[in-house]
């Protein structure tokens, strides 16, 4: 057990993953430089540039080549520099990676991981603050997971590498160095498809994932300080979703707020709200609220604080639900 940042935990997980000779890392600037966020720092030196591969600037080519490798028995882990640069590769993901198992009825498979640094809050240039997980969660055949702590970042990444199916792995850029915590030594997996109850309570359920867990937990602590019994769920896995955990929580509390930084319309939160009304409607004592980014292009540095949900917005939404 040691204290690590989320970035260090990911580096440690990738290092362990490379113990498997079939694992290959691919991405832009991931070798010599260690990646734009240094997540692969030192790995090329340790495991060789044949296995930690610096690629040409061609996202579609990277994912397509990794897909070919996966078909031929390797387990590639691909890094996209930013989620906003993953769209050139979206055709490969949606047209081939997600469907080769179905297309070939299990004869060919794509056990591969696509790592996507995502999210706003670091004052970056345009395209560097995207949170478009819904466009991946919508595609059958993919699994979509979102890390939020150093501990689950390592465990989820090792689970993703072991998974026989393609996993879209979201890494909260804002938490890379801001999130620090205890990380168990050695190899362990955080199961894909299982949410995490971060806080137990009986008055209201706050449901979120990824970078927004920080604001969600802060909001929860403020509410707890005011005497509210708050339950907090970190979904961790969007596909497959731990529906039973969400439903059980809302049946107990009767109130819920769903939080993500992605835009509102068609966002993953809508899926959670739909699930709640399908399976817990008669337990509800107030309409479910969503606290999300707005349906605007993510603002640049000087205005992004208007966009990202804050703990204050979450508390306000929770209050309105509690008082309804």
């Amino acid at each position: 057990m040691g204290v690590m940042t989320l970035a260090q935990a990911l580096n440690s997980a990738l290092d362990m993953a490379l113990d498997d000779p079939t694992v290959v890392l691919m991405g832009e600037d991931i070798g010599t430089t260690g990646g734009v966020f240094r997540i692969t720092d030192g790995l090329a030196r340790k495991h060789g540039s044949e296995r930690v591969v610096d690629t040409p600037v061609a996202e579609s080519g990277i994912v397509g080549a990794a897909f070919g490798m996966a078909i031929a028995g390797l387990r590639p882990i691909v890094e996209m520099q930013f989620m906003g640069f993953s769209y050139p590769a979206y055709d490969q993901v949606i047209s081939h990676v997600a469907r080769i198992r179905s297309r070939s009825r299990h004869r060919f498979t794509a056990p591969m991981v696509i790592r996507l640094p995502y999210g706003a809050g670091i004052g970056a240039s345009e395209h560097h603050s995207e949170s478009t997980e819904a466009i991946y969660a919508h595609i059958p055949g993919l699994k979509v997971v979102v890390a939020s702590t150093p501990e689950n970042a390592k465990g989820l990444l090792l689970a993703a590498v072991d998974d026989p199916d393609p996993v879209i792995f979201l890494e909260p850029i804002r938490a890379y160095r801001a999130a620090r915590g205890e990380v168990p030594d050695g190899r362990y997996v955080t199961p894909i498809g299982a949410g995490m109850l971060e806080l137990r309570g009986s008055d209201i359920s706050l449901i979120s994932y990824g970078a927004m867990m920080r604001e969600t937990m802060e909001a929860a602590h403020r509410l707890v300080a005011d005497g509210v019994s708050v339950e907090v769920i970190d979904l961790r896995s969007l596909v497959p979703l731990d529906a039973d955990m969400v439903v059980a929580s809302v049946r107990k509390t009767g109130r819920a707020v769903v939080i993500h930084e992605a835009p509102l319309t068609g966002g993953y939160g809508a899926e959670i709200v739909a699930l709640i009304q399908e399976r817990a409607l008669y337990s509800l004592r107030a309409p479910v609220q969503r606290v999300t980014g707005w349906d605007v292009t993510v603002p640049l540095r000087l205005a992004e604080h208007h966009y990202l949900p804050s703990a204050g917005r979450i508390v306000a939404a929770a209050r309105s639900v509690l008082e309804a």
Binding site: V24, E50, T55, P56, A58, S60, G61, G64, A65, A66, F67, G68, M69, A70, I71, A72, G73, L74, D91, Q92, S95, H96, I100, R101, S102, R103, S104, R105, H106, R107, F108, T109, P140, G141, K143, P164, D165, G193, V239, P240, L241, A243, D244
Partner: protein, 348 residues
């Protein structure tokens, strides 16, 4: 830059440079191309009878397809497109699988174990990079296997072509890029796809050799592919081959090519038929007559009919079975949907 297409067997059935091939090899190629043509016509007929969904005919391209896979070893990979049924068949992908896919059943996409042929790519061009990744994996594993990918002239306009060629060049993957330039991408002639004089010469920009070949000459196709496979296996990297051929029929059975090309467009090509030149050569060797022809045709028909019977005997999926191949282990949410789908058939 000027490239001349490689040719061994001229359209009149004479061998250039006196490189006379082995008779038994020519009989084998002629038999394969005959079977390929019969399948193509049969599949088109089955579509008209409503027994297949849309079909993409390759008539005129038999030499390219048979010749391209002839030099491949069993462990080598073929990553082909929707118009490459003959190439797939002669690298081990059974006719019944090809028919089953065209009938509309995903189980056609599951060739037998050991057959290193991926299901046909329906998207144009997205699959070329897969042959780079597959070949790269084989290189990492040190197996010596190579990957050949087939695509058309239209696919070379996709950005995917650039990325695939570029990766193959940078990493020296054992990949063979085999372009069947059949003159047409649905309604668009080759001249509207690229201002380049040839597609083969594009290889130069990626640091790869580009080869132009008469795609209706099975011997020349086989020769240039064998050279490319040897280079790849020797660790010398990828090759781009452009096979000049012609799509005699429409783009698919849903296409009417009279809307965009004049009958005269085909005139020059019909005299260059890939089967006819081999037949002429065999006849001169005393290895072909009407009896040989009918023997080959009845043997091929027997195979195709047996494959068809096998494909048509497959019982289509139940509602629950469509959930069977999304993940290795079905996920909880998907199992819930499966149960609902199974129940909903009661109200169909």
């Amino acid at each position: 830059m000027r490239l001349e297409p490689r040719q061994v067997l001229a359209a009149d059935g004479t061998v250039i440079d006196g490189r006379e091939p082995d008779v038994s090899r020519m009989v084998a190629r002629y038999a394969a191309m005959t079977e390929a043509r019969l399948y193509d016509r049969k599949a088109s007929a089955l579509q008209r009878q409503g027994r297949l969904a849309t079909y993409a005919p390759y008539e005129g391209q038999e030499a390219s397809q048979v010749g391209a896979v002839a030099p491949l070893a069993e462990e080598d990979w073929l990553v082909a497109s929707y118009r490459d049924a003959a190439a797939m068949r002669f690298h081990g992908y059974p006719w019944q699988n090809l028919l089953l896919t065209r009938m509309g059943d995903e189980r056609g996409g599951h060739p037998p174990e050991g057959v290193n042929v991926t299901p046909p790519s329906i998207t144009v061009g997205g699959h070329m990079i897969h042959a780079v990744g597959i070949a790269w994996a084989e290189k990492i594993k040190g197996t010596g296997a190579v990957a050949l990918t087939m695509f058309g002239d239209g696919a070379t306009s996709e950005g995917d072509f650039h990325e695939a060629m570029n990766f193959a060049g940078v990493y020296g993957t054992p990949t063979v890029f085999f372009c069947q330039n059949n003159g047409w991408a649905i309604s668009m002639p080759r001249s509207r796809q690229t201002a380049s004089a040839t597609i083969a010469q594009k290889a130069e920009a990626y640091g790869l050799p580009g080869v132009l070949v008469d795609g209706n000459d099975v011997l020349a196709v086989e020769e240039v592919v064998a050279e490319a496979v040897d280079r790849a296996r020797a660790g010398e990297g990828a090759t781009l081959i452009e096979a000049l051929t012609y799509r005699v029929r429409g783009h698919t059975t849903a296409d009417d090519d009279r809307r965009y090309r004049a009958r005269e467009d085909a005139a020059g090509w019909l005299g260059k038929d890939p089967l006819e030149r081999v037949r002429l050569w065999l006849e001169r060797q005393g290895a072909w007559d009407e009896d040989v022809q009918s023997g080959l045709e009845s043997q091929a028909s027997g195979l195709i009919e047996a494959a068809l019977a096998e494909a048509e005997a497959v019982v289509s999926f139940s509602a629950g079975e469509i959930f069977d191949a999304m993940y290795e282990e079905p996920t909880g949410p998907l199992e819930t949907q499966r149960r609902r789908a199974e129940r909903s058939t009661r109200w169909a």
